[in-house]
Amino acid sequence: MFWSELESFQDNVAVIEGQHTLTYAELAGRCDELATQFDGGKKLVFVFVSNNSNGLVAYLTCLREGHVCMMLDPDLDNAKVEALLTAYQPNVIIRNLNVEKYANTKHTIDNKLALLLSTSGTTGSAKQVSLSYNNIQSNADAICDYLPIRKTDKTVSTLPLFYSYGLSVINSHLNRGAAILFTQYSMINREFWQLFESEQINSFAGVPHIYDMLLRIKFTELPLNTLRYFTQAGGRLAENKVRSLAEYALDTGKQFFVMYGQTEATARMSYLEPELVKIHPDSIGKAIPKGKFELLDSAGKQITKPGEVGEIIYVGPNAMLGYANSKEDLVHFHGDGSLATGDLGYFDKQGLHYIVGRKKRMIKLFGNRLNLDEVEQYFNRQGIEAASTGNDQKLVVAFINELDISSLKQKLSQYLNIHSSVIIAVSLSEFPLTANGKKDYAAILSQVGLSHD
């Protein structure tokens, strides 16, 4: 397991942060130091993790010492933190390496359990994806198999550590003995690109909204001589953008990897070979090493013909143990190594996979999954009727005869912690209905001039 063998990379640089670096031996030493602040037994730990060496040390210490670590956004609002504290009663809370004792209860926890990650930073649900030690190690191994991560590489952390994709970048680099740069600057800052150049960064990871931004600022015109490859995952990126990025990569001798995954699969489930990206910009490629996809039709029967659409089932050692909603759910897991993704797709004659939609009512905004039914429930709890729909650019909420929809929109923006410009709120005299009397979400969407894509 890479976290217990950090020392084996000795003097390799593990972390670069401002003027400071940490070698693997020093990183291991920092973890051992933090570990002295815990007393015996497997603990449940809340880690408020920032993208810096302190966040990394807290995470690795939990793994090394066998404590269960819930990775949390340090900016999570108080009400949501309180709800999680109540549901899980953690023994310890770590913020910026400050160790605070919390609940004194001895929890019964499945020995396999290592990590708890939320699938959505927004609705503040207590639901967590439960991942095992084996999940983390096997996914890091698979990623190191197909991505060209070298021992001498340096990457820059561009995604939060409490987000499975961001964490997978860290895990795979530590697994290889490579270096990670942490910076407080974002990709829209001049300083970020100066660091990129001076530190000679070899790769970065992006999600659709990051690539929208990068293409918008024409990052391809920046001198990125040391950049060897870059990856896209975390939602569907528009085909024309995938194609532009593939062309940029081809023109400059770099590699562009399009990947697919979910937190429920630790992070990664599939990737597309860089040389196929330009020809198949809409494909998610094939399953990662040691993993495989199956497709099930609506009757639960396995699909064997190319082109037929069914639910994508992933089978592999990185499929989660299960979900948890409270500490009681941590006692025992019986995950069977398979995962119903909730995504609908098909495969072609070459065995490349494609996603066509989702089974559940879900959209993705700024990389965050948003359950549309939860938005309706949020308003229903306040006695307000709402119909919520949208696409991966906009969230649409329709109300019935509400006068002050702009204040409802502001409240929702605060609750979900998303920019109000991506929310469209409308007031209707009644909801359009489908033939069988259900809310006609497609009609609501077209009323505000949007479509599903």
């Binding site: 800052n189 970020f192 909204h209 931004m213 024409k218 990052f219 920019h419 410009s421």
Partner: protein
């Protein structure tokens, strides 16, 4: 509206804050609501309001309201 008012208004709507919170000293690294998402919304808003196209260097240099004024003056917007 004069140019300064238009610019302040663009900042207020992009950062999702009240107009009264906007002043020349407001800077990217000291205002949590000014994140990368808000920055891109801001860029689009400025381009629409002043009918210009900002280039890469200008977008990544626009780290404060004062700096935005300086950059806009290159595009013949006067304050």
């Amino acid at each position: 509206m004069n140019s300064a008012e238009t610019l302040y208004q663009a900042f207020a709507s992009s950062l999702d804050v009240d107009l009264s919170e906007i002043n020349d000293d407001l800077a990217y690294n000291s205002f949590p609501k000014w994140d990368s998402t808000a920055h891109m919304i801001l860029v689009a808003e400025i381009e629409a309001q002043f009918d210009i196209m900002l280039d890469t260097d200008d977008i990544i240099d626009m780290s404060s309201v004062a700096k935005a004024k300086e950059i806009l003056s290159k595009y013949e917007v006067s304050f």
